[in-house]
């Protein structure tokens, strides 16, 4: 009988070995540019995960979520309709090799941008669509509103993850004390918190928000505003297709720029009468701009009309789970979202 841990280790080592083999083989494998394949196939193959709010199937088996909406936006940018996209769930161990082998055209599965992935693995990343980071979820009755005030708390962290180290580093910096409790299985975090075994738990905040809704009394707990690590989640594509990369870049940028201008799916038609030449270019009122780029002049208009701007995508999928915009606000609101100009 193999234990859970050995199975996981076996899976990881096999994945690593396969990955190595894949990396070597891909040197000889000749693949045409991604966009050619997409056009030929008539659909974009997107690798996703299963995290509540980000990507999950609804009761009818239709994918819903924050990243899913960006996949639909991409489908509009390439084909003009939101449904020419095939979402396939992939595990964290196999998503990067699968992207490299051409199984997916793009990963919208919450991949953190890192140097290694860019240089050694040769992936390209689109704009960060979600600024995630390690957070701390605490019981409200501790009376703490920011992590720097935590003193003497018992904090549960997943064993063997960087989360454990990050929280230790953080407390070394603040000079306060804490008692670490390592938790083996991610499912046990809720029990530990509810039984009072720990005062707080720390994980990536995207996990914590999902966990908070599963607590018996979610309102008795708050997610502290600080992030102990940087986890910028961005679309990832294989190298070698610059035009595909630009399509990804500017699709994401379009949703951000639209929010900056206040263009939503509800009022986009009114903006067609806007006098602002930038908005005219953006919405294809002046078709020469899009045509010169080799795009449907109405591509951004259709994205906003169908999927909505960044704020709408966020509010539709993540707000019901209790997400605050935080870092994922526009730069004009003190966040990190910033679109280059459309000109």
């Amino acid at each position: 009988m193999m234990t859970h841990k050995t199975v996981r280790r076996a899976i990881q080592s096999v994945a690593a070995a396969t990955f190595l083999a894949t990396t070597m083989l891909s040197g000889f494998a000749h693949a045409g540019p991604t966009l050619d394949k997409i056009n030929q196939r008539g659909a974009i193959k997107v690798g996703v995960g299963t995290t509540p709010g980000f990507f999950a199937p609804d009761s009818n088996g239709k994918w819903q979520g924050f990243f899913i909406d960006f996949g639909r936006a991409l489908s509009i940018a390439v084909f003009g309709t939101p449904d020419k996209v095939e979402f396939t769930s992939s595990s964290p161990q196999q998503r990067l090799p699968a992207l490299q082998s051409g199984e997916f055209d793009i990963l919208l599965s919450g991949v953190t941008v890192t140097t290694t992935r860019a240089f050694k693995l040769g992936f390209h990343f689109g704009p960060t669509v979600f600024y995630d980071g390690q957070g701390i979820l605490v019981r409200k009755d501790l009376g703490v509103t920011k992590a720097a005030d935590l003193d003497g708390a018992t904090i549960g962290a997943q064993s063997g993850t960087t989360g454990e180290l990050n929280v230790a580093d953080f407390f070394r910096k603040t000079g306060k004390t804490f008692t670490p409790v390592t938790i083996e299985d991610t499912g046990q975090f809720i029990d530990a918190l509810e039984s009072g075994r720990v005062d707080a738990i720390t994980q990536d905040s995207s996990d914590l928000v999902g966990k908070r809704t599963q607590l018996k009394k979610p309102d008795d707990y708050i997610l502290l505003p600080e992030r102990l690590s940087k986890e910028p989640l961005a679309p990832a594509i294989a190298g070698g297709d610059d035009r595909w990369l630009e399509l990804v870049n500017w699709t994401v940028n379009a949703t951000i720029q639209a929010e900056e201008w206040g263009i939503t799916s509800a009022n986009v038609d009114q903006f067609l009468e806007s006098e602002d030449p930038a908005i005219q270019r953006f919405l294809g009122v002046d078709p020469s701009f899009g045509t010169e780029l080799g795009l449907d002049p109405k591509w951004a208009y259709t994205i906003i009309k169908t999927v909505g701007n960044y704020g709408e995508i966020f509010d539709r999928n993540l707000k019901p789970l209790g997400w605050e915009r935080g870092y994922n606000s526009l730069w004009t609101d003190g966040g990190l979202l910033y679109s280059p100009p459309f000109r």
Binding site: A10, I11, V14, A15, A17, T18, A21, T22, L25, S26, A29, H30, A31, G47, T50, T51, P52, G53, A56, P57, D58, S59, N60, G61, Q64, E86, F87, T88, S89, S90, S91, Q93, Q94, P97, A98, S101, G102, E103, G187, G210, T213, Q214, L215, K216, N317, P320, L321
Partner: protein, 349 residues
């Protein structure tokens, strides 16, 4: 003695016959008294049977989750309006499995029925004869689990027979190949095989000859299971006395006729319990398909509890899956016992 008192007497000796038995009975009762009341409270008293997720208290089971998600757990991404197709696939597979289980049907027609059923299931799932084909990334749930299980097992068996015969062959090259193949496959974890199917196979094939991920997985799993089945069949071959083959040779039968008429029918009879045992293990192993992103039954159940509308009802989802797996495995093991008795009775005659 009436039947009732006899049962009572059996129970008494069974439960309290010796000191050890009494102790074990007492310990079991104590354990059950600890487990059952909270389980009952969770599953029945505090449970919610109707309404939406908000109506569910986290204290008890949320059976309305199962009502809302059963379709997704069983059929995953398959288009709901074409759901009769996977239902038909399940029925077809159940029919062929049942037919294969009855010794009266063992014969040539069944051998032809298998490939036809598999083909029919594949066409049904693919959405043949409709306007929109259904790509395999929309297949999922129980039909996928059953389909992969049945197809791989059925396709692996003939390969396994050849491997088992080759391993017992006197031709050195053939034997070495068979030994190498079987040991290599059995020395590799199934997850590794699935990664090969998912990642290496597409790159090893010439450009433009890439085929469906589901099909790749089926091919690799078939080759993998064949090694295990071959070893079970070899046990059956070895159990036959050499006199059987010698007598067949003396009668002037060639190698293939000997195998077909004399050796294999007897060998299969011997190894059926072993094969059923393997089949049960393989059914559970199909859940590993999740690592390459195929939505088998277990994976679909897991995903069903990630829906923000119905977040976190993992226990309920896993219970549904456990019931389905148990029903199939329990049925298979009861069948195996029945068959053993029946074949043993036949041998006594």
């Amino acid at each position: 003695m009436t039947a009732a008192t006899r049962t009572l007497a059996t129970l008494r000796t069974g439960l309290f016959g010796t000191r050890t038995n009494t102790l074990v009975t007492a310990a079991t009762l104590l354990l059950l008294s600890q487990i059952l009341p909270p389980l009952f409270r969770w599953a029945v008293l505090d449970a919610t049977f109707t309404g939406n997720a908000e109506a569910c208290t986290r204290a008890g089971a949320c059976w309305s989750f199962v009502a809302a998600k059963l379709r997704f757990i069983l059929f995953a991404f398959y288009p709901p309006d074409l759901q009769w197709r996977p239902v038909l696939v399940i029925l077809l597979l159940a029919a062929i499995l049942t037919a294969s289980a009855v010794p009266r049907f063992w014969g040539r027609p069944l051998l032809f029925a298998w490939p036809l059923t598999i083909l029919a299931c594949w066409l049904l799932m693919q959405g043949a004869f409709t306007s929109t084909p259904i790509p395999s990334n929309q297949w999922g749930g129980l039909p996928v689990t059953l389909f992969v299980w049945a197809v791989c097992f059925a396709a692996a068996t003939p390969i396994a027979v050849l491997l088992a015969l080759a391993r017992r062959s006197t031709l050195g090259g053939l034997r070495t190949f068979s030994v190498l193949y079987i040991e290599l496959m059995r020395g590799t974890p199934m997850v590794g095989i699935l990664y090969v199917a998912m990642l290496i196979l597409p790159m090893a094939l010439p450009d433009g000859l890439s085929f469906d991920k589901m099909l790749r997985a089926i091919v690799m799993v078939t080759l993998f299971w064949a090694a295990y089945i071959a070893e079970v069949i070899r046990a059956g071959l070895q159990a036959l006395p050499a006199g059987q083959t010698e007598a067949a040779t003396a009668l002037g039968l060639g190698f293939w006729r000997t195998q077909q008429l004399i050796v294999l029918p007897q060998a299969f009879r011997i190894v059926i319990p072993g094969l059923v045992n393997l089949a049960i293990g393989f059914l559970l192993a199909t859940s590993l398909l999740a690592v390459i992103g195929i939505f088998d039954l277990l994976n679909a159940a897991r995903a069903s509890a990630a829906d923000p509308q119905w977040l976190g009802f993992y226990n309920e989802a896993y219970i549904v899956v456990a019931v389905v797996y148990f029903a199939i495995c329990f049925g298979a093991s009861r069948y195996s016992r029945w068959l053993e008795r029946r074949l043993a009775a036949g041998r006594r005659l």
